[in-house]
């Protein structure tokens, strides 16, 4: 700054508000650059040639789209170019002091995953089903989305819901037994909701009533439920698996007409009840949080509990209410495992999905809609492995199992941008 400029500044009238500057972080640019470099390295080190066949239509669609055959190597490199362009864009923006917009990250991720698919599916005689890719992503996102909704509800009320994993697993187990015994998937679902709420009740008892550190209670609950369900599984379920552990599942309900649209139809409109319910739950939670008395009070309690107390809102009750609803919603996600995905319960079958849901909460900046989309992204990553094993990919399956976690880590670490959690999140409310 020159001396002239400085004088000019001093002479200027004092502004009404304090000046702010945007503090930019090179983190997202760095992460994108690193991922692009790794991607290029992969293509160079392990070149794949041949074509990749993308299958779009299914039998019974309105009209048939022919299989799209693209040469793999150019496609993969083209995607790499898009990634590089997105990275360059972010670098330029950061240098000029602006933040990274989310859509650039989305374009980057889409290009990267498409290129990876092209590379992995190269030369395979089998078709790479786009419907399987997207439909599977929706299916796999179910526990993440419900779990994330549960996480959002709890944390907006000021209670960190680390116990999503416990809620999912407990619900999966309970839904499994109940639907096996009653032969009703719907009763299984109801039982899952109760199981999720029950885990929440324990969380609430320690975190809200006894002011125990919420993170510790949550982690302990997660471990406890793993132990409990594994014990019951080996001691009870396995003795009589035919009656106790062969669940009745939801069948797909194709919605007339809509389900025949190519690609979109089977992905969105030929799914089991639990998934339609999910499509409704996301906007419903958003509406409840932002437009109703229940939501206003819930958010008030999560931001400034004492202020809520001084206008006559019962903080403890409001938090219990929120945590129970959160557990119930997460329980719906747990039902996925035993009433949609498999017809039996298996030890620790959620495999850390609750933690990914927790990451979706943060990636989604504590907003139910954004968190749901984050859950969808993680679902897509989880599904890659299935798709590629069908195509016959050369990538080891153990490596693919890692992908959703790596995506989660990158998403939360570098790309989420500045976000602000509810002010009283994790703070027990102690009167006086």
């Amino acid at each position: 700054m020159s001396a002239d400029q400085r004088t000019a500044q001093l002479d200027a009238p004092l502004s009404e508000t304090t000046r702010t500057v945007t503090l930019v972080s090179w983190k997202s640019a760095g992460v994108l650059l690193a991922v692009t470099a790794l991607y290029a390295l992969l293509l160079l080190a392990v070149p794949h040639s041949g074509d990749t066949r993308f299958l779009l239509s299914q039998r019974g669609d309105f009209f048939q789209i022919p299989v799209i055959v693209l040469p793999a190597a150019p496609l993969a490199w083209a995607c790499g170019a898009v990634m590089l362009a997105a990275t360059a864009f972010v670098v330029l923006r950061t240098a000029r002091g602006s933040r990274t917009p989310l859509w650039v990250v989305a374009v980057f991720a889409f290009a990267g995953l498409t290129g990876f698919l092209a590379w992995a599916g190269a030369g395979s005689p089998r078709d790479l089903s786009v419907v399987g890719l997207l439909g599977g992503a929706v299916l796999w996102s179910v526990p993440f989305v419900y779990g994330a909704l549960g996480g959002v509800i709890g944390e907006r009320a000021g209670v960190v819901n680390i116990a999503i994993e416990a809620q999912l697993l407990g619900a999966a187990f309970t839904a499994g037994i109940v639907s096996s015994v009653t032969d009703s998937a719907l009763l299984g679902l109801a039982a899952a909701v109760l199981a999720g709420a029950l885990v929440s009740l324990v969380l609430g008892l320690f975190a809200i009533t006894y002011h125990v550190n919420q993170v510790i209670v949550g982690v302990v609950l997660n471990v406890l439920v793993v132990g409990l369900t594994s014990f019951l599984y080996s001691q009870v379920l396995q003795d009589d698996a035919a009656t106790l552990n062969s669940t009745t599942r939801f069948s797909s309900i194709p919605i007339p007409v809509l389900s025949d649209i190519p690609v979109l139809g089977p992905v969105l409109f030929d799914q089991p009840l639990l998934i339609y319910l999910m499509f409704l739950a996301v906007p419903a939670v958003w509406y409840a949080l932002n437009r109703t008395r229940w939501g206003l009070r819930l958010r008030a309690v999560g931001e400034h509990p004492k202020a809520a107390d001084t206008v006559g809102i019962d903080v403890v009750r409001t938090r219990y209410n929120a945590v129970l609803v959160a557990g119930a919603v997460a329980g719906l996600g747990g039902a996925f495992y035993t009433t949609v995905y498999l017809s039996q319960f298996g030890e620790n079958m959620t495999g850390g999905a609750g933690y990914i849901a927790l990451a979706a909460v943060i990636f989604g900046k504590w907003d139910p809609v954004r968190a749901a989309f984050a859950g969808l992204l993680f679902g897509f990553a989880s599904n890659l492995q299935n798709v590629l094993s069908v195509v016959g990919s050369p990538v080891p399956s153990q490596f693919m199992l890692m992908v959703p976690y790596v995506v989660t880590l990158l998403a939360v670490a570098g790309l989420v941008g500045r976000s602000r959690p509810p002010a009283a999140s994790g703070e027990p409310y102690i009167k006086g």
Partner: protein
């Protein structure tokens, strides 16, 4: 509505915070509750508001005994409170804050925001508040936030309004406006309780005054009483309200700050191009309403801020970029703004707190071992020298009163060889007796030839201590003026008006 408190007693363990307090507040009067920090005013009001339950005594509204089990009951009965620390949700809009707790809904459970907006506009128009119902509270200036608190109370049809230390965060102009609002409310028939420890305000606005000391009502007074009379009633003995000091003897050494810019992690530029100089032997008071960059400025002097540019030199040596330890070793003494968080370890004893900054070598530590007898000897000397009222040097600091805690901080910081002394809000939450003592020590430090920087939000203190006053507003320096500048000029400067314009406006 007529409010009566009869024999209210509230105990916290052995401590009697309120001891059989009687108080009557009539409709159409402003009743001031005057007392020092810790006298029990806020406890009494929390009892009234249902946040605490009284151990004895009763609350009557229009001669009917009330039983409040929570703030909801108190509000329902017509009591509204403007809290010292605003009870507003920062990320909510004004309308959302006002409706919270008594929301109206339409079909589908949808919040009726329009009704809340209309209510805010209506009350705002009635009192000339200029509050937009759709503004987000955290973006509003403090004075406006306080009006939102008032709207909140009025929207619930409060007939008894309690203002708990309402002027602590306001500029003198905002304080005047608040008093006008209080008078208007009184004239409309509200009963108003005004809690404060500032004598000037009490005499200006109160119709009646009740003085509380050590949890007891010690007397009543009329606003015609003098400052001296009110102060001695409040403290229990006659007090010296002015600071005795001679003209400064300036020396050549000193602190020089040039173009200091401090950016917080949120991107807010807390201190924006600040330059000033303090020479040995003078006191520069940094005045201004709280939150205009003073905290960050003092922290930067000690190396506690990360994003700092510009230059801070002490006796010619650059301090920016040095560690806190390095700056302490240069001879900087620092009294932090919040002594309980930053100044002391509450669980540690007085003796341990007194040596916190010298644990890295002799004479307090030799070969890694604490020299306990030396430490205790040192502590006994300092406790005597700084008049810390305590049972012994092994008392945990957290058990001392605010004034005595502050004396411990002062004792520690002033017992090094200082070349700069920085004290942020040294008398906040401190009893009048300790204030006198602290002021004397600050002046003594100045007279020893040390440059002294004091941050104060209290105009009285600024004027009493300063040789020069620097007023800050929104991170910038409004002006550096002599200590004898008229108070109303200083007040305008605290609202961001340049000294020239402020003088013009006053003249």
């Amino acid at each position: 509505m007529r409010l009566e408190l009869r024999g209210i007693t509230k105990r916290f363990g052995a401590l009697v915070a309120n001891d059989h307090i009687d108080l009557v507040v009539r409709p159409g009067e402003i009743h001031s509750l005057l007392g020092e920090n810790g006298a029990g005013k806020s406890t009494l009001m929390n009892v009234l508001y249902g946040l605490y339950q009284a151990d004895e005594g009763e609350i009557l509204l229009d001669d009917v005994v009330q039983h409040f089990s929570g703030p909801g009951d108190a509000m329902g009965a017509g009591i509204g409170m403007v809290h010292q620390h605003f009870m507003l949700v920062p990320v909510f809009t004004v309308a959302e804050n006002v409706m919270l707790g008594h929301e109206q809904t339409r079909g589908g459970g949808r919040l009726d925001l329009e009704a809340a907006r209309a209510q805010v506009r209506e009350i705002s128009a009635r009192f000339g508040f200029h509050v937009d119902p759709d503004d987000v509270v955290e973006n509003l200036p403090v004075g406006v936030q306080q009006r939102v608190e008032i709207i909140k109370a009025l929207s619930r049809n409060a007939d008894v309004l309690v203002f708990d230390e309402p002027t602590a965060v306001l500029t003198p102009q905002e304080t005047d406006e608040l008093m006008a609002i209080m008078r208007q409310l009184r004239d409309e028939g509200s009963a108003i309780v005004f809690i404060t420890h500032k004598l000037r305000e009490v005499r200006e606005v109160a119709d009646r005054i009740t003085v509380i000391r050590h949890g007891k009502v010690v007397g009543e007074a009329l606003p015609t009483a003098s400052d001296g009379e009110l102060a001695s009633l409040m403290v229990g003995r006659s007090v010296e309200l002015t600071v005795q000091k001679d003209a400064p003897t300036l020396r050549d050494n000193g602190l020089k700050v040039t173009d200091l810019v401090i950016t917080e992690s949120t991107g807010t530029v807390a201190v924006d191009g600040v330059s000033f100089e303090v020479r040995g032997g003078e006191v520069l008071v940094v005045a201004g309403v709280q939150g205009n960059g003073q905290t960050e400025l003092t922290e930067a002097l000690l190396g506690l801020q990360d994003e700092v540019s510009g230059s801070i030199t002490l006796d010619g040596k650059e301090l920016i970029g040095r560690s806190v330890r390095g700056i302490l070793d240069e001879g900087v003494g620092f009294v932090p703004e919040d002594r309980t968080y930053d100044g002391l370890v509450a669980e540690f004893t007085i003796a341990e707190n007194l040596m916190l900054d010298r644990s890295d070598g002799p004479p307090f530590v030799r070969r890694g071992a604490l020299q306990r007898s030396f430490r205790d000897q040192f502590a006994r000397e300092k406790v005597a020298e700084f008049d810390v009222r305590t049972q012994g040097i092994t008392t945990p600091v957290g058990r001392l009163s605010g004034g005595n805690q502050q004396k411990v901080v002062l004792a520690r910081e002033l017992s090094r060889d200082l070349r700069l002394f920085v004290a942020a809000q040294p008398t906040r939450g401190v009893d009048v007796g300790s204030i006198e003592f602290i002021h004397k020590r600050v002046v003594a430090t100045r007279d020893a030839g040390v440059p002294v920087v004091v941050v104060s939000t209290e105009l009285d203190e600024a004027v009493a201590l300063a040789d020069r006053i620097m007023v800050m507003y929104r991170g910038k320096v409004v002006g550096i003026v002599p200590a004898d500048t008229p108070r109303n000029v200083l007040g305008l400067m605290m609202a961001g008006i340049s000294p020239q314009d402020a003088k013009g406006e006053v003249a």
